[in-house]
């Protein structure tokens, strides 16, 4: 309604019901109009549109149709005519407006159109909608079939074809046979344009317009003959100032206030110019422009393992004898031709006989062309075809099948006890062979004795120098600890053992003092009384710094290592006699660790690069193991004696099967930093390594009695044990002798027990 109103206001419309009221509605207009004469307004309006349309689309019929619709609305009841004729329409068009009530409703439509028409000067005359069904329905309402969208076949067996609004059956019309149909068709002039309506059960005669529409649709045109897809555009809004503009609204404010966004944008550029990011007037960089486009083939950096391009050999220039018109001297004589023919085709110096032609057009076609093509095809056909086999192996299948770590329990998993008390980094720990006590040697010059199960520090010994290594005597009948500090090796007793063991220990030491004869390689001294009261038994002075001490399994011999001691770098001491021997005249390298074999009289010496195995009984060199690493840090021998592991400062752990080879059976790289110590468990199939990143790695290392089976190595756990202090993490790790627990000590001055 609003749409209808606005044009009226902007344009002096013919209908002006003397009011400017905004709330004026169409209904009121209609009421007013119907109350008054009714011919004043709408007729003029209609005539207007007709004129316009006449100018525009120049179709005579359309106004007629316009009225036709109006006519159908009103007057169908009177006439009951099913085939409206064009002429009749024109008649009724003039008369129809006279009918008051109906006119009001139709005037509704007309008014709108009229309004539109007046505004849009070039608008085509809109056509009334053709609605044949509606037409037919209104013409015989009482028989309207309300059966709905139901397949008509359902009513094939019934006498009726549907139902009226009231629910009464609509009987089918009587149908004659083919002859009747033909006769009636002959009688009826409209047969050619009638269509049978299945629903209503009767023929419908199509109007002229409907036929026209069908034709147009068949042609592929618009169904509506008046529609023009190429209407000229109308410039509603243009640069020209209209006298009567489409909208009288004042200019919006934003037209004359400066744009904020633009200001921002400008400021952005200004700032860039100030900062020098944009230099005004400078031309765009040439290089940049060049780099915009590049040849994708130009720098094929992809390395090729084969020659990509082999230029073909240059064809030699044709010689004289190859000419079609060679000089006489190049032409072969008859004898030469015979000779050529006699020779085997493979041995002929050339595969043609020079011939002379007077001109090029006399040269015949190549007579061997077919033969050569055939030979070539035969070659290709017979050439051997090698099928290149592609390796198609699932990489997953190459990974060795390892058991699930969960099935390999027990192994240490969780932190149980932290032993606190030391104030500097702890270099070494050792657990007594019964598993009750733990000793630790630290850089704070102290040795502490701990009870494992409670985490209680029971005793502290103070020395003059940092403790570099400490180890408990493996003999359960003795209670002795050997420790290395600076150039000295001390033997101490914790005095925690039972009286029997303690007395045996004391007896051994006193016996040693009694039997001792001379100092050869190291100086054995008795401690002062004060120190003796604390438990110190022996002090052995070596020439150089001692870094490592290890006991023989029986607890009488022990070996010490001073890496920079040259020929005296390895000393083997005998406690019961107070003797020190130097078994090696010459050092074969920087000695790192030594070890006694757990069952046989073998002695392992780990230098920087290799591990040498000596037989102590025969005093011969047995074997050299080559781990191919740069610097060995530690060594541990499997309790069965046939396998050993070494840890290296270059982060590797190597497992040697000594029956297998002098090369490592497995090399494991699980550490990110240097490995400080490796250790086997004496009972469980476990081994561990600790490194400078502060972690302890636990591995399952099963050695089978069956010689044919290789050891099974499975990494099972990484324990984040110690904090890294000054680049040092876990410095030593050792297993509990009876339980699957591991102790580790580190640069953070703590000892930790994982159970």
């Amino acid at each position: 309604m609003k749409r209808a109103r606005t044009p009226q206001k902007s344009h002096p419309a013919p209908i002006d019901p003397s009011t400017d009221d905004e709330e004026y509605t169409l209904a009121e207009i209609v009421d007013d109009d119907s109350a008054s004469d009714g011919d004043t307004v709408f007729f003029s309006a209609e005539s207007d549109t007709e004129e316009v349309d006449g100018i525009n689309s120049a179709s005579e019929e359309e106004p007629a149709e316009d009225e036709d619709e109006g006519d159908d609305d009103e007057g169908d009841e009177d006439e009951g005519d099913e085939i409206p004729e064009g002429d009749e329409d024109e008649f009724s068009s003039d008369q129809s407006p006279e009918e008051g009530d109906e006119f009001a409703s139709s005037g509704d439509d007309e008014e709108e159109e009229e309004d539109d028409g007046t505004v849009r000067v070039l608008r085509k005359k809109p056509l009334p909608e053709i609605d044949p069904v509606y037409d037919e329905d209104t013409s015989d309402e009482e028989t309207a079939n309300t059966v709905g969208n139901v397949p008509k076949e359902w009513y094939d067996e019934f006498p009726h074809s549907g139902y009226t609004v009231d629910g009464k059956k609509i009987m089918k019309s009587a149908k004659g046979d083919q002859l009747d149909a033909f006769l009636s068709a002959m009688d009826d002039p409209d047969t050619w344009r009638s269509v049978y309506d299945n629903l209503e059960d009767r023929n419908i005669v199509l109007t002229k317009e409907e036929l026209e529409m069908i034709k147009r649709i068949q042609k592929g045109d618009f169904a509506d003959p008046t529609s023009n897809p190429y209407e000229p555009t109308v410039e509603w809004f243009s640069s020209k100032t209209q006298i009567t503009p489409l909208s009288a609204a004042p200019e919006p404010k934003r037209r004359f206030i400066p744009s904020k966004w633009e200001a921002q944008r400008i400021m952005h550029i200004v700032r860039a110019i100030r900062q020098g990011r944009i230099v005004p007037g400078k031309k765009a960089d040439k290089k940049k422009q060049q780099s915009q486009f590049y040849s994708i083939w130009d720098d094929a950096t992809e390395p090729t393992d084969r020659i990509m391009h082999i230029p073909p050999p240059k064809a030699s220039l044709p010689e004289h004898e190859e000419s079609y018109n060679p000089p006489e001297e190049y032409l072969p004589t008859q004898q030469e031709i015979e000779e050529w023919e006699k020779t085997d085709p493979q041995d002929r110096p050339r595969n043609f006989v020079p011939k002379k032609y007077n001109n090029l057009r006399n040269v015949p076609g190549y007579n061997r062309f077919i033969q050569e093509r055939f030979d070539r095809c035969l070659d290709l056909y017979l050439c051997p075809r090698v099928i290149k086999k592609k390796l198609n192996i699932d990489p997953e299948s190459l990974i060795p099948k390892l058991p699930n770590p969960r099935d390999l329990q027990p192994f240490p998993t969780t932190l149980a006890i932290t032993y606190k008390g030391h104030t500097a980094r702890i270099r070494s720990i050792s657990i007594d062979p019964t598993g009750q006590y733990l000793v630790s040697g630290s850089d704070d010059n102290t040795v502490r004795l701990w009870e494992i199960v409670s985490g209680r520090c029971l005793k502290t010994w103070t020395f003059d120098e940092p403790i570099t290594f400490i180890t408990w005597n493996p003999n359960k009948a003795l209670s002795l600890i050997a420790l290395a500090s600076h150039t000295s090796v001390y033997i101490i007793t914790p005095k925690k053992a039972s009286p029997e063991i303690q007395s045996a220990t004391d007896a051994l030491i006193s016996h040693m003092w009694a039997n001792q004869t001379k100092h050869t390689n190291a100086e054995w001294t008795k401690p002062t009384d004060k120190h003796a009261a604390q438990g110190r038994l022996v002090t052995i002075r070596c020439e150089k710094n001692v870094t490592f001490v290890t006991w023989h399994r029986k607890g009488d011999y022990f070996a010490t290592v001073s890496p920079d001691g040259a020929s005296k770098s390895i000393l083997i001491h005998q406690l019961s006699k107070g003797l020190s021997q130097n078994p090696f005249r010459k050092a074969k390298g920087l000695v790192q660790r030594v070890s006694f074999h757990p069952t046989k009289p073998f002695f392992f010496v780990a230098t920087q690069r290799t591990v040498r195995v000596y037989n102590l009984q025969t005093q011969t060199h047995q074997k050299t193991l080559q781990p191919s690493t740069k610097w060995i840090s530690s060594l541990s021998i499997h309790p069965a004696g046939d396998n050993l592991i070494i840890g290296t400062y270059d982060k590797r752990l190597s497992w040697f099967d000594m029956d297998l080879s002098s090369k490592p059976y497995k090399t494991l790289r699980y550490h990110k930093q240097a490995i400080r110590n490796v250790s086997f468990h004496s009972r469980y199939p476990l081994f561990a390594s600790c490194g400078d990143e502060g972690s302890v790695n636990i591995f399952h290392g099963m050695v089978y009695n069956d010689l044919m089976m290789n050891p099974l190595i499975v990494p099972v756990k990484t324990l984040r044990a110690h904090e890294v202090v000054d680049g040092l993490g876990a410095l030593h790790c050792e297993f509990h002798p009876t339980q699957p627990w591991i102790f580790s000590c580190g640069a953070d001055a703590t000892i930790k027990l994982f159970s």
Binding site: Q409, P410, T414, A416, I417, T418, T434, G435, Q436, E451, V453, S454, G455, R456, L458, K496, S498, P499, E500, I501, S503, T738, Q739, W741, S755
Partner: protein
């Protein structure tokens, strides 16, 4: 026993859509018994809702503001379904166990216990390794400073026991041996010695009755038989020694055939406060079988001839004391650190180095070795003790500085008490539960006591 008629199912006013379950309430506490008929209750109810129903049935509806003498105050109840505590709503329980809501649910209810409240903390000089309470109110502690102490409830240290030369690892009262304010007890220490003591409450004096000689390793556990006549000690050397507790059945020091040790002992007794020579006692029996250190020992409270030990060889062994035979051996994969035998239900609870509590029924035949695993502790469990008043509850102390109170009808601990400063990783070494008090001692050097009414 004033029970009113329960609301009939028809008249129960519950929200539409609630699933209702028929419940029959039972109790063994006859003073709280209610009607035996099944009652329709909403399935969404949890412990509190059910407890309200019981209190309603009992007529215990008094609120705090009411001071009416006739109406009683409500009592909190716990509910057991199939022998386990109901910890969820009825609906969740039935859903989880795939039970129908159509059937009648049997609910047993017991009076809920209050959480133990810290009662006192008595300071020691050093870590406490072992704690034992006495029904008279005295508490015996063994300490890492080689001293034993006897405390009374008011926090007065009644006696300081000097004798050991190493940390005391285990203490035990000798039951039924106290004649009129004279209490006897034994202590075992890391110095491989076991001392029998007597504390005279009247004169407030303590003296060493005898020293038990025989162990060669740290004495890790001592236990007395319920009749107070037998004493069993276990040691790091892997053997169990049995002694009688009779103070008169001792050898004179002169009879000792080890000349050197006698000399030492004389020397020591000269230095000691007790100038007289300490009588020695020899072991009556030696039980060997453990392949490794033994950490704990306990007598069967109902049977003085049955002894149970647990050790580092991952075994729990039962021994017949009279015949000196190992009757039952049960194996688990972890070191046994603490154990206790309940006389009322015959179950043994053990604490292990994996933080798991295991319940054993040694009467059961082979097959199911461990009856129940209870895990909540995050570190080694050092000691466990059954409640002396309730056959379902026990207390455990762990290296994770907590003490947990358990009910074997529930798989989660009932209460968790602080046994030390968790940030300092202070370990708990000993717990005991006597009457209404839980005692604990550990690395924080405090004898803590908690009032626990169960």
């Amino acid at each position: 026993m004033t029970t009113e008629q329960p609301p009939s199912p028809a008249t129960s006013t519950n929200k539409v859509g609630d699933i209702q379950v028929q419940v029959r309430f039972r109790t063994r506490q006859q003073q709280h018994a209610v009607t035996d008929t099944a009652i329709l209750v909403p399935a969404r109810l949890r412990r509190y809702g059910l407890s309200e129903i019981i209190n309603h049935l009992l007529g215990r509806t008094a609120t705090d503001t009411e001071s009416d003498e006739t109406t009683l105050k409500p009592i909190p109840f716990n509910f057991l379904i199939d022998g386990k505590f109901l910890q969820t709503s009825l609906k969740t329980y039935l859903d989880n166990h795939g039970l129908s809501t159509e059937n009648i649910v049997e609910l047993e209810y017991v009076e809920a216990t209050l959480p133990p409240s810290p009662a006192a903390a008595f300071e020691h000089d050093e870590w406490i390794s072992s704690v034992r309470g006495h029904s008279s109110g005295l508490v015996l502690t063994g300490c890492f400073d080689t001293l034993g102490r006897v405390w009374d409830r008011s926090g007065v240290c009644k006696a300081v026991l000097k004798g050991h030369s190493g940390p005391i690892k285990s203490v035990s009262w000798i039951p039924e041996s106290s004649i009129a304010e004279r209490y006897r007890f034994v202590t075992g220490g890391q110095d491989a010695k076991v001392f029998g003591w007597e504390y005279d409450a009247e004169g407030n004096k303590s003296r060493i009755l005898y020293e038990c000689v025989g162990h060669t390793g740290s004495v890790e556990g001592v236990a007395c038989s319920p009749d107070g006549k037998e004493l069993a000690t276990v040691s790091w050397d892997g053997c169990v020694l049995l002694w009688n507790t009779d103070p008169n059945d001792v050898e004179e020091a002169e009879d000792d055939n080890g000349g050197e040790s006698r000399k030492r002992r004389k020397l020591k007794s000269d230095q000691g406060a007790d100038s007289s020579v300490i009588p020695l006692k020899r072991a009556q029996k030696r039980l060997t079988g453990h392949v490794g250190p033994i950490s704990c020992v306990t007598f069967a409270p109902t049977n003085s001839a049955m002894l149970v030990t647990g050790g580092w060889d991952h075994t729990v062994r039962a021994w017949d004391v009279e015949q000196s035979t190992n009757t039952v051996t049960r194996n688990c994969e972890k070191v046994v650190l603490g154990m206790d035998y309940s006389g009322e239900n015959g179950l043994i609870v053990t604490g292990h180095s994996d933080g798991v509590l295991r319940l054993w029924d040694l009467r059961a035949q082979e097959g199911q070795t461990v009856k129940l695993h209870l895990s909540s502790h995050t570190n080694w469990v050092s000691s466990v003790r059954w409640s002396s008043t309730n056959s379902y509850t026990f207390v455990s102390g762990s290296y994770d500085s907590t003490i947990k109170v358990w009910d074997i009808r529930s798989t989660t601990p009932m209460y968790t008490l602080a046994g030390g400063d968790k940030t300092k990783e202070q370990k708990v070494f000993g717990v005991d539960w006597v009457g209404e008090y839980i005692f604990s001692g550990g690395e924080d050097a405090l004898l803590r006591s908690f009032a626990a009414k169960v």
